[in-house]
């Protein structure tokens, strides 16, 4: 590999490591922590958390050429 190619590859690797590091330091969202805490205390998952985890049972996901905004925002 030529010198510039090696340098680009090394920089890309550094970028990925930085992203991995940042992702590793980011705590799970609050609702996940709440869900885990409730599960430890009661052995159950609340309806709201289950809904957030599983999505709306009345909404389909169509894997097609152009997904709609509703699939992501629920409205």
């Amino acid at each position: 590999m030529s010198q510039p190619t090696v340098q680009i590859a090394m920089e890309a690797k550094l970028d990925i490591l930085t992203i991995q590091d940042r992702v590793g330091q980011t705590p799970p969202p609050k609702w996940i922590l709440r869900m885990q805490e409730q599960y430890v205390k009661t052995g159950t998952i609340s309806t709201q958390d289950l809904r957030q985890l599983l999505g709306d049972p009345t909404k389909r996901v169509e894997i097609g050429p152009k997904p709609s905004l509703a699939a992501f925002t629920g409205h």
Binding site: I45, P57, V61, G64, P67, F72
Partner: protein, 298 residues
């Protein structure tokens, strides 16, 4: 008689509608709440050997998969489907659309009758003006809405034209009549329950992440502009896969979802053996992957 409502919910169901046939797939997990003897508490159990894909009748050309409620009150999905199969033996359907309408009517009759009490309670709460409903009642209404919602995907072909078709039948407690089956597009894949993993794989973002970005206050564009940004980098999908590739696709998305849930901070609400069935335009219902009845005897 008291209304029996199983504390059981089911997650993944998938369908690929190919011009060659319909592929139906599902995982095998049902999440069941088991109360303590005094009923004061209890725990969720993730049971991994439920069946969510069924042949309609024996040797027929229709299949069905479902998500949401684990049963219709005290009536199992298996029995509901068997009764429906008996009825179409007496009065054969002319098209898959007609079969889907007939099934929706059969389901609706049982749903309205067997779940009469919780449906009435939901409607009573829903009819309350916003100024009168308490926080506790709102919570109760939300719970009923979630527990009494779900759907079916019925697919196959009729002997009249052998055109492979599939229909989505969604039920909710706010409906006042049998749900109207909606046709699914040929050449596309459909997925119900637990869409976060497949969204992340294909689009690089799921609805939770998407709404978090919108809610952060740091995005100054419109919702649609943010979606367009992600969609420009999505994994594009081929149209109308050959049948065996469609089977691979259905297996892959279910498998990926199960494993991503297992190896993450999420709870394993999906899992167990993957079941896949095929109704090609030239043959009756066939199993691609089907667990045996001794599967749970580990």
């Amino acid at each position: 008689m008291d209304t029996i409502i199983q504390n059981e919910s089911m997650t993944i169901a998938a369908c690929y509608v190919s011009s060659e046939g319909v592929v139906l797939g599902a995982d095998s997990t049902s999440t069941m709440f088991v109360p303590t003897p005094d009923g004061q508490s209890g725990g969720n159990h993730h049971l991994n050997f439920a069946q969510k894909v069924f042949e309609i009748g024996n040797g027929g050309s229709l299949g069905i998969t479902m998500w949401g409620m684990g049963a219709v009150g005290d009536l199992s999905h298996r029995t509901l489907i068997a009764r429906y199969a008996d009825s179409i033996e007496q009065k054969p359907y002319l098209s898959v659309a007609e079969a889907a309408v007939q099934f929706a009517a059969t389901f609706w009759g049982e749903y309205s009758r067997r779940l009469q009490a919780p449906l009435a309670r939901f409607r009573e709460l829903r009819a309350k003006p916003a100024t009168e409903i308490t926080g506790e009642e709102q919570q109760e209404m939300y719970e009923w809405q979630h527990r009494l919602s779900g759907g079916f995907c019925l697919g196959g072909h009729s002997s009249s034209d052998r055109q492979a078709e599939s229909y989505e039948i969604i039920y909710r407690p706010d409906l006042t009549a049998a749900p109207v089956p909606l046709p699914l597009n040929t050449g596309s894949a459909y997925f119900w329950g637990c869409p976060n993993i497949i969204h992340r794989i294909l689009y690089g973002v799921d609805d939770d992440q998407f709404t978090s970005i919108l809610a952060s206050g740091k995005w100054t564009g419109t919702d649609q502009e943010l979606l367009d940004l992600f969609m420009a980098k999505r994994l594009a999908q081929p149209y109308d896969l050959p049948l065996r590739e469609a089977i691979d696709w259905v297996n892959t998305i279910i498998y990926a979802t199960i494993k991503a849930m297992k190896f993450s901070h999420y709870f394993p609400v999906c899992g167990g053996p993957i079941e896949i069935a095929l109704i090609s335009s030239d043959r009756p219902f066939r199993w691609v992957k089907h667990k045996s009845f001794d599967e749970a005897l580990l």
